[in-house]
Amino acid sequence: MAELAVIVVVLSAAASVILTGLAAAWAEKHIGSAAIGAMTEKEELFSKGLVLTVIPETIVIFGLTVSLVLLFVVLPQLL
């Protein structure tokens, strides 16, 4: 049983980084292209666009945090 738990925890840690990374990339793709579109109309929007583009990065940061907690807090208790 314990082995199964370890496998599940490790896979979850991997999934949380991979999936949130993909999600953040997908969101940034949309925001980024919209920002470029806005910039062709009005060049001063560059700085605002740049800031808006990094906003979804929160998703992957949460994912990274979850996976770190899984690997370094939850996993040692199982071993």
Partner: protein
């Protein structure tokens, strides 16, 4: 913190014959922020510019093209010139210079076109046996040989032109300055409201300059010009002039990118000055990277002198100092564990490094979240003050006080785990109070917002995460080079060094950008949403 200049809205009404004199006075005082004329109807219409602007603009354009062609800037010339003092002599100098330059350019163009033709003829000389008479070919050859002389002449002309320009650049700059201010004055009526015989200027001036302006106008025009304060509503955007000490000044840029504060709002520049470099330092935290950024921004400051660049480099400079400081805390030098490598274990009685970013990520994460709690709390306190100023104490407690109590109750509850069980009752009580206030203030919808504020605070985990990714890349670069490439020896050493340099340059660029953007985002999204409304405009006095 709200030490910014108080503005007052004024109207200035005068008869048309005094318009030119009034513009002259306003232009020299440099205090009025003119509001552009907007609505036109039967009686009020937009003013007409004084004199022939087009002639002046044309002249200005040709001078500016000269200035940009030869890259003449005020900082680059040695001789000094006084601004806005123009004599006949200067005008003559400028026109003469323009003519001389024009003749040189013509000459250059001629030489160049001849040289081009010669290039073409040369190819005819190459093929000798296609039936062209010998004499023709010979004369062609002599023409080709004169090419060298022509080229020499071209270089000489170029040199002459450049020396002329250098000699006269001070005059040109001065005249450019004079022309642009002259055009500004001539076009000023386009921003005024006029009727058949009068003109009206609407605008803002600093309150304490009001009397001075009134006195000057009274003295010069008597009753023909009158200055009055007028009332303005709260939602009108008041121009704002920051009065920050020099170290804080660069951080105004971050407000400019967002929105200027309204006049009665708390101006957060000072808070940003403290927290922005701190966040940046926590994220990047490397002695080597900090030093590189510090010296790079010092170097670039001597090259880029525009206002925007100066501000951005100023911000980077402060941030890099924090980066170096946190580099010492983490014990990192270009990703290497510096204290370990140097064999230093203790410094000032402290075990070094204080924190290892890879191994101690949990303490750093807890630190990040604590910083988040404090920062969000600060934002809420600013919000409390803003709401109190705008409405009253009851609104402030319902709108912002409830959140402050909520955060405190969570802190107390968390503390009860470590300190004493009695705190649970205190924390629970506070939580109940805050929830009641929340429902009273914003309805049951307000309860959903609790998740919002929770994700706001958790968002500060990025202080740890961004740093972790940056140090991770640095360690990967180092270990590839030191553990894999260097042991192979020979020419691999060179490859190793180039990988080190390229890798770290890339990582520094990424680090500058990522840390900057994420520190900025923490301010815009997490901090500003708690109190900041914005909507002010920049104070741009007429005449500058």
């Amino acid at each position: 913190m709200s030490s910014n200049e108080r503005m007052t809205k004024i109207t200035l009404v005068g008869t048309k014959d005094t318009m030119k004199g009034t513009i002259e006075i306003l232009h020299s005082l440099k205090i009025i922020h003119i509001l552009d004329f907007k609505e036109q109807d039967d009686t009020f219409e937009i003013g007409k510019s004084l004199g022939e602007v087009s002639k002046f603009s044309e002249l200005l354009l040709s001078i500016r093209s000269l200035l940009s062609k030869f890259d003449i800037r005020p900082g680059k010339i040695k001789s000094t010139y006084t601004k806005r003092e123009v004599s006949r002599e200067l005008e003559k100098e400028v026109f003469e210079t323009e003519n001389v330059i024009k003749s040189y350019t013509d000459k250059l163009n001629k030489i160049n076109s001849i040289l081009k033709e010669i290039e073409k003829l040369k190819s005819i000389g190459d093929i000798k046996d296609i039936g062209i008479k010998k004499q023709v070919i010979e004369s062609l050859d002599s023409l080709v040989s004169s090419k060298l002389e022509l080229e020499m002449q071209r270089d000489k002309t170029k040199e002459q032109m450049e020396s002329t320009i250098k000699e006269k650049s001070a005059y040109l700059l001065q005249y450019e300055d004079f022309l642009s201010s002259e055009i500004e004055k001539m076009e000023a009526p386009l921003r005024f409201t006029t009727t058949k015989n009068t003109f009206v200027v609407e605008g803002w001036i600093p309150e304490k300059k009001y009397q001075e302006l009134d006195d000057i106008l009274k003295k010069k025009f008597g009753e023909r010009v009158s200055l009055d304060k007028i009332k303005y509503s709260d939602d009108e955007s008041v121009p704002i002039e920051f009065k920050h000490p020099t170290p804080v000044k660069p951080f105004e840029l971050l407000l400019e990118l967002f929105e200027y504060p309204k006049s009665r709002e708390i101006d957060p520049t000072f808070a940003i000055f403290i927290t922005f470099p701190l966040f940046y330092g926590i994220m990047l935290g490397d002695i080597g990277y900090g030093l590189v950024i510090f010296f790079a921004s010092l170097l670039m400051k001597t090259k880029f002198k525009t206002e925007g660049w100066r501000m951005i480099l100023g911000i980077l400079e402060y941030s890099s100092i924090y980066t170096i400081a946190f580099g010492f805390v983490y014990g990192e030098f270009f990703g290497f564990d510096i204290f370990h490598l140097l064999g230093i274990e203790e410094l000032f009685g402290l075990l070094m490094p204080l924190l290892n970013r890879i191994l101690d990520f949990m303490p750093i994460m807890i630190l990040s979240i604590s910083i988040g709690v404090i920062h969000v709390l600060l934002g809420l306190i600013f919000g409390f003050i803003n709401v109190y100023r705008e409405h009253n104490i009851k609104e402030a407690i319902l709108k912002k006080g409830s959140w402050i109590i909520l955060i405190f109750s969570v802190i107390v509850l968390a503390g009860s785990i470590y300190i004493s069980d009695i705190l649970i009752y205190l924390g629970g009580g506070l939580l109940l109070v805050s929830v009641i206030l929340l429902v009273l203030g914003e309805g049951f919808i307000g309860l959903i917002e609790i998740f919002g504020i929770m994700s706001n605070i958790l968002s500060y985990v990025r202080l740890m995460a961004i740093g972790l990714s940056s140090v991770g890349i640095a360690i990967v670069i180092n270990s590839i080079v030191v553990d894999i490439i260097f042991p192979k020896g020979g020419s691999f050493i060179l490859l190793g060094y180039s990988i080190l340099i390229f890798g770290h340059v890339g990582n520094i660029l990424l680090g500058i950008l990522a840390s900057f953007l994420h520190a900025l985002r923490l301010h815009y999204v997490e901090f500003f949403t708690k109190f900041y409304e914005g909507g002010g405009i920049k104070y741009k006095p007429f005449g500058i």
